[in-house]
């Protein structure tokens, strides 16, 4: 089967420091990939590159097949002036997801009863959960998640890892950056960054 996403001969730098030299990675359907490494080894930079957010023309050969992608970045992309529901509504409209799942997604991440409150009154962890609710809104083929397990509680971690495992078994690919081990009972491919340079 052709890879969902592959990158070859990638040379990336940040602030004049070389992060990757001749880096290659290929991600196929039904794979869970963890990008691990210490702080500053370029996990987020690589994920942003894979998501197509950084052009870095000529940095490497990025080949992506036609598939729906869900990217959850370091920044939550949650507007504090809008309620959680309004935040997700715009997201659904933008990505063509059905708005019917918004309430159930918010309930899943433990924000039942908070749908209509102004997001600025939510705690940092709850804001993170609004961002995380996107994962439950619709099915994507490729998930690119930046530190999805930080600042959520044990129940949230269990819920998210169960959902991601289910998606991987259904043929999607998941790429997570994380320094902690990811609590899943499916095969996990660990890509250690920061050793090649």
């Amino acid at each position: 089967m052709a890879a969902l996403l592959s990158v070859a001969n990638l040379n990336l730098e940040r602030g004049g420091r070389s992060l990757f030299r001749d880096f290659s990675l290929s991600i196929e359907r039904g794979e869970l990939v963890q990008l691990a490494g210490e702080n500053g080894t370029g996990k987020t930079t690589l994920l942003r590159y894979l998501a197509g957010l950084s052009s870095h023309s000529g940095a490497g050969e990025l080949v992506r097949s036609e598939c729906s992608q869900l990217y959850l970045g370091h920044k939550p992309a949650v507007k504090t002036l809008l309620s959680p529901r309004e935040n997700l509504q715009w997201y659904c409209q933008g990505f063509g997801f059905s708005e019917e799942k918004i309430d159930s997604a918010l309930e899943l991440v433990g924000l039942y009863g908070y749908e209509e409150v102004a997001s600025r009154t939510l705690s940092a962890g709850q804001l993170r959960r609004v961002a995380l609710a996107r994962v439950f809104l619709g099915d994507a083929d490729l998930y690119l998640l930046d530190e999805p397990f930080t600042s959520i509680d044990a129940r949230g971690v269990a819920l998210l890892s169960a959902h991601l495992s289910e998606r991987v078994n259904a043929g999607a690919a998941v790429v997570c950056t994380s320094h902690q081990p990811i609590p899943v009972d499916i095969p996990l491919r660990r890509v250690e960054l920061g050793e090649s340079v």
Binding site: S55, H56, P76, A77, E86, W90, G94
Partner: protein, 223 residues
């Protein structure tokens, strides 16, 4: 089109939750208009002579004031990243941003213009031309500002840079906008000025969204 209407609804909702930000350019405009008679003296003839130029310069500055924040919060909280990744073309979203900016700065100005014109002793015969020129001109200003705002959003304190980038592009609008009003105030035909303004608007609508989209991509890349 559902993204475009959804995005417009979101922009207006955000503005409604932060009314001070929408009102401040308008209040700035009103204050400056009130200062002119104090500085120039209350002679109606003298005021009327300067009125078209004064009017347009303040319109320009109040548009610029609001332009800096066009993409700012979306850049800081990461919404701009999601916008770039959305499947629909980015230039349509950029057009929506510029349109929302016009609805929140150009349109209120247009509605208040008769009052401000009266305060500057502008002849009422020029009012029609003033409104038409403002409608065309402020729309061009919003579109041009969207390019500058997209390019400078990743720069810390990019306000000065934004002014340097877009003020030269504002100049033609200033010349033909105030020219139209001055011509009408003198009882001459303003048709040529208005047609040139309409031409500039067509050009801006056709080109600015693409330049703005490129700017957004560069800024998101840098962040």
């Amino acid at each position: 089109m559902s993204l475009a209407t959804g995005l417009l609804r979101r922009q207006l909702l955000l503005a409604a939750r932060r009314p001070a930000q929408v009102l401040s350019p308008l209040i700035f405009f009103a204050m400056v208009v009130m200062l002119f008679p104090l500085g120039l003296g209350p002679d109606p003839r003298q005021l009327a002579e300067f009125a078209p130029g004064v009017f347009w310069i303040i319109a320009l500055l109040s548009t610029l004031m609001a332009a800096e924040d066009m993409f700012r919060s979306d850049y800081e909280d990461g919404s701009l990243e999601q916008l770039v990744l959305m499947p629909s073309p980015l230039f349509i979203s950029c057009l929506v941003y510029a349109f929302a900016h016009w609805l929140l700065t150009g349109l209120p100005l247009l509605l208040m213009a008769p009052l401000f014109a009266l305060m500057l002793q502008m002849p009422t015969s020029a009012l029609g031309v003033l409104l038409v020129s403002l409608m065309l001109g402020t729309a061009v200003l919003s579109l041009v500002s969207s390019i500058g705002a997209a390019l400078t959003v990743s720069v810390r304190r990019g306000g000065v840079l934004l002014s340097l980038l877009v003020l030269p592009l504002y100049v033609p609008v200033l010349i033909f906008g105030s020219g139209a009003v001055a011509a009408a105030a003198d009882g001459l035909s303003a048709q040529a000025h208005l047609l040139i303004l309409a031409g500039m608007l067509s050009l801006a609508v056709a080109l600015a969204p693409f330049a703005c989209a490129a700017g957004v991509r560069i800024s998101v890349d840098a962040g």
